[in-house]
């Protein structure tokens, strides 16, 4: 019995963490990510992978509901913890693991896990909550009706001239590598976005303006988050290390971080494979066929310039409507890259009016 207990505490000593950052908690997130990197804990890429759900700050009502949806998808043993500003993150994480072990140890089966279907009706959906409404307009083909609470897919025109099924799926607001609070309501044919609609949740309640952040550090943070989505974890790890080093008080660590930042940006800018992989992403219909426009690559260069302290003209940030329009017709992975390259964040989006794309 004790052997099993010891095995359990050994196995769960490095849980996978799913971070949920409420608006205005960027600094706190950086501290927490630095601590996770120091401990060698890994980030979960989906709720099914997570053991520990860490919620930073005070989520608004809609975000809190989305967290509940995500929580319903986390397999046991699991633990949900809240970290507020001004808390020692190391102590908080230690306590989180203890609580996780305590839950895993108590043999009582977890009760009250709501069935997946119970979240279907909610509009702000969840990680993969299939959107309920909207399935009944348009021509009523032979397949209609509902199965297991899900509406059957309708067909729609697609780019290959085949009338294929359209699936309504909402992505976000809580999704690793995705700006927390942003919801993408998508109409998908296979993995191609036939239609897209973007919005922020809790839009009216975001009032607090987070502490202003160092431009270089946030550039490195954007870079790291983009690289995670682009599937380059080693470079993302280096970018995070550089960001955390720059926040240090010690001079020696800061200069080392500066070197690391130059190294990682050099690697990113010099990577022909990355350029090959993301070239053309985010190009609008207008400039298709010309090789000049590579918006995602351009913004990536911008973050890299900022990260090493070079001046760089801020490339225009499109409004949510324009962004949603540019996502239409793209493959879901490309859409994720485009969104990740923008470094969206609810606080700045609210503070700067929607017409930021000057």
């Amino acid at each position: 019995m004790d052997l099993i207990g010891r095995l359990r505490s050994w196995a769960l000593a490095r849980p996978r963490v799913l971070l949920v950052d409420a608006p205005g908690t960027t600094g706190l997130r950086w501290s927490l990510e630095a601590e996770l990197d120091r401990r060698g804990w890994t980030h979960a890429v989906s709720p099914a992978q997570a053991d520990l759900v860490v919620i930073l700050g005070e989520p608004g009502p809609q975000l809190a509901h989305a967290v509940d949806v995500v929580w319903s998808q986390v397999p046991a043993p699991r633990h949900r913890m809240y970290v507020r500003d001004g808390v020692d993150v190391a102590v908080a994480l230690d306590r989180g693991v203890q609580d996780l072990l305590g839950r895993a140890g108590s043999s009582a089966r977890e009760v009250g896990r709501p069935p997946p279907a119970s979240f279907l009706g909610s509009d702000d959906g969840g990680h993969e909550g299939m959107d309920h409404g909207g399935g009944h307009e348009g021509h009523h083909m032979h397949h209609g009706g509902e199965v297991a609470g899900l509406p059957m897919a309708m067909t729609g025109p697609d780019r290959d001239g085949l009338e294929l099924d359209v699936l309504k799926v909402s992505l976000g607001p809580v999704h690793p590598g995705w700006p927390t609070g942003l919801v993408l309501r998508a109409e998908l044919q296979g993995d191609v976005l036939a239609g897209a609609d973007l919005s922020w949740i809790d839009a009216e309640s975001v009032s607090e303006v987070g502490p202003s952040l160092d431009a270089r550090q946030s550039a490195l943070d954007h870079l790291a988050r983009f690289l995670v989505v682009a599937g380059w974890p080693t470079a993302a790890r280096d970018a995070r290390r550089a960001r955390d080093g720059l926040r240090s008080e010690e001079h020696a660590r800061r200069t080392a971080a500066q070197r690391l930042a130059e190294e990682v940006t050099g690697k990113v800018l010099g990577s022909r494979t990355l350029a090959w992989a993301i070239a053309g992403a985010g190009r609008s219909q207008r400039d298709r066929g010309t090789s000049s426009a590579h918006p995602v690559l351009g913004r990536l260069r911008h973050w890299c310039d900022l990260a090493v302290g070079r001046d760089s003209a801020n490339p225009p940030t499109p409004s949510l409507q324009d962004l949603a329009a540019s996502l239409e017709g793209t493959e879901i992975g490309t859409a994720r890259l485009i969104v990740a390259s923008l470094g969206l964040d609810p606080v700045t989006s609210q503070r700067v009016p929607e017409s930021a794309g000057a």
């Binding site: 095995l7 359990r8 050994w10 196995a11 769960l12 000593a13 490095r14 849980p15 060698g40 890429v45 989906s46 099914a48 992978q49 053991d51 998808q73 397999p75 046991a76 043993p77 895993a104 997946p116 279907a117 279907l120 990680h127 993969e128 299939m130 199965v147 297991a148 609470g149 899900l150 699936l167 799926v169 999704h175 690793p176 590598g177 998908l188 296979g190 993995d191 690289l227 995670v228 989505v229 682009a230 599937g231 380059w232 974890p233 080693t234 470079a235 790890r237 990577s271 494979t273 990355l274 090959w276 992989a277 993301i278 493959e331 879901i332 992975g333 490309t334 994720r336 890259l337």
Partner: protein
Amino acid sequence: MRETATATLPEAWGVLPAVLAVALVGVGLGLVVASVDRAVLAGRTRGAVLEPLREGARLLLEQRRTTLAPDRLLWRLGCVAVPVLALLSLAVVPVGGRTLWSTSADLVWFNAMEALLWAAIWLVGWGPNAFHALAGGYRFLAQGLAYELPLMFALVTVGVAAGSLRTTDVLAAQDGLWFVVTMPVAFAVFVASAAAFAFWGPFAAPTSADIAGGVTSELSGVDRLLVEAGRGVFLGATAAMAAALFLGGDSGPWLPGPLWQLLKTLAVVTALVWVGRRLPVLRPDRTVEVGWMVLVPLTLVQALVVAVLVLSGFYA
């Protein structure tokens, strides 16, 4: 049956010990892949061996995920099939100069196991009735289809040079010269296609972060352990196969044969992991076109070159 130079493993050791030994080798190879990967990913070697074991234990303790209206039968079938097929593909890989099973079409057997693995991964993506998993499954179908033919041609090239599809014959044919010297393209394509079939490194788009882990996004507990372990075992098996088919297997001076084979396999695994982790994930729409438009003709030319060499008596 033709007199083969070496007996199969079951003939030498008995059936049960041979099967157990090959399964152990497979698990060991998978562990090696996971450890090297961990070391490269974390940037430090400390705890690299222990971490995959810890991860395995953690997954064993974890609950299995349920989703809304899943196709549970096919989902579980896919999850179980992944490690089983990876181990089956190891059956024709020479271990210490002998294979668990020696047929007259070993190379095709290896390829068939890869194809079945490909279908099994699609099942893993199809099963949970979730968007991200299915998108990963689609990506893997396209990728596997594009890299199946180059892989097949690479294997055919080896078969042409050895004059046999039996792996032990291929080993014997490399007595004088390793095949990698005359068929570098086939070697590179074999390794790259193997990475594509194990959806690994730059070919990890079916499980990449931009679709929340793709086919693995809804896996937890034992299911995830099976799939991840199967992927590691398969990658290790491919590295061992690459060492046997192109790098002369267990031939080498001074050291005993099995040690040479181990060293070569470890070298291939390390190179594969190290290079793979230094590249970002490539989008499938890019890699697929390269597979069809570049690798297929390239491997055909390679096969032609080798065939001409065979006719000129180069390998005799």
